[in-house]
Symmetry: C2
Subunit: 207 residues, 2 copies
């Protein structure tokens, strides 16, 4: 269908704008961010930015679109092959790595959900729900096979999301509470160790 058919400059500048917009949107939210801010962060004038994205919402939409793919990649990788506990451990690790390496993406997503997900509600109830239901079925299979303890697979997934994304979304609080010593770069390894223990012990099959 309608191929973008973009020039070299268009591709580069659009990328530059999206990078700047990610920075601005993720820290101030959609309504809290101004086009001028994004333009300045991208090193160009406002009209020039609006030459590449006609409206402020278009930037946000482009950002959300590419975000969801990469954001759900770890869950898509959760597979039926391999040892269930190992599989879950690496899912948790991957999610925590994303919180560490892409905190802005996490905050952008959190901002959107916090405000009622006005722009991605259909995606949540559609694509996301389908994916989660599918993976929940896989986990349920593990439980039936006695490989892991019986619990609610959906809430298990929620709790993995919550605990890992917490280290991106609430990073300021985490660092403030841990203080200068323990709040340094090592905090993600501490978190990984803790979460691994919590989930793997909590999910060990009963006898």
């Amino acid at each position: 269908m309608d191929a973008p058919r973009r020039t070299r400059i268009q591709q580069e500048k659009r990328e530059l704008i999206l990078e700047a917009a990610l920075e601005v949107f993720s820290t101030h939210g959609f309504r809290g961010s101004t086009i001028d801010q994004i333009a300045e962060a991208a090193g160009m004038s406002k009209p020039n930015l609006l030459y590449y994205f006609r409206r402020k919402e278009d930037i946000h939409e482009a950002l959300m679109q590419r975000l969801l793919d990469t954001w759900l990649a770890p869950l898509r990788e959760l597979d039926d092959i391999g040892d269930p506990l190992t599989e879950l451990r690496s899912y948790i690790r991957r999610k925590l790595e994303m919180a560490r390496d892409f905190p802005r993406e996490s905050r952008l997503f959190a901002n959107e959900i916090l405000q009622g997900a006005p722009r991605i509600m259909p995606l949540l109830a559609g694509e996301l729900k389908t994916l989660v239901d599918e993976k929940a079925a896989v986990i349920k299979g593990w439980m039936r096979a006695g490989k892991i303890a019986r619990t609610d697979p959906w809430h298990l997934i929620f709790s993995i999301w919550a605990t890992t994304q917490h280290y991106a979304d609430f990073d300021v609080q985490v660092r403030a509470v841990l203080g200068p010593n323990r709040g340094g770069d090592g905090r993600f390894e501490d978190a990984a160790r803790f979460l691994e223990q919590l989930f793997l012990e909590g999910l060990k099959p009963k006898s």
Copy 2:
């Protein structure tokens, strides 16, 4: 010092404004909310609202101030007396009840932290850190006594915060994924059951 010395009408109207502001701020964020919106939600004109709170920020500040007290109350109640696992279970339950009964407060707090906590940073590094350190010491005592498994008390507290507040902050997503059947009123009881199992099994002392 400077006692507020407020009339009856002032007390009532300020309360009315704060209630309206909680609703508006928690769904649109600080910069996404307008004084007109709050005034309309409170059923009064904008200049009338500004008679009680001179600036928009003053409303937000008053809101945050009262929020932190009630928000940290459950953690303050965490006590050294009583069985550790029971103590932790009721802490989790209280936190989840707060997410259910005061979701707007939770979202207001999340919004503030997400944006870097510009207005409450001192409180985080001061009062909050002190409280958490104190409770972490209590938990550490339980671990040394062999009452619960050894882990990182700080990250344990973080994970309890993350999992419980998730049901307030990401409510839209939770309901969308669970669907109309399981996303109804029962979702908090399901969550309570799951979290209880996760944390209590995950923290059982090793032999």
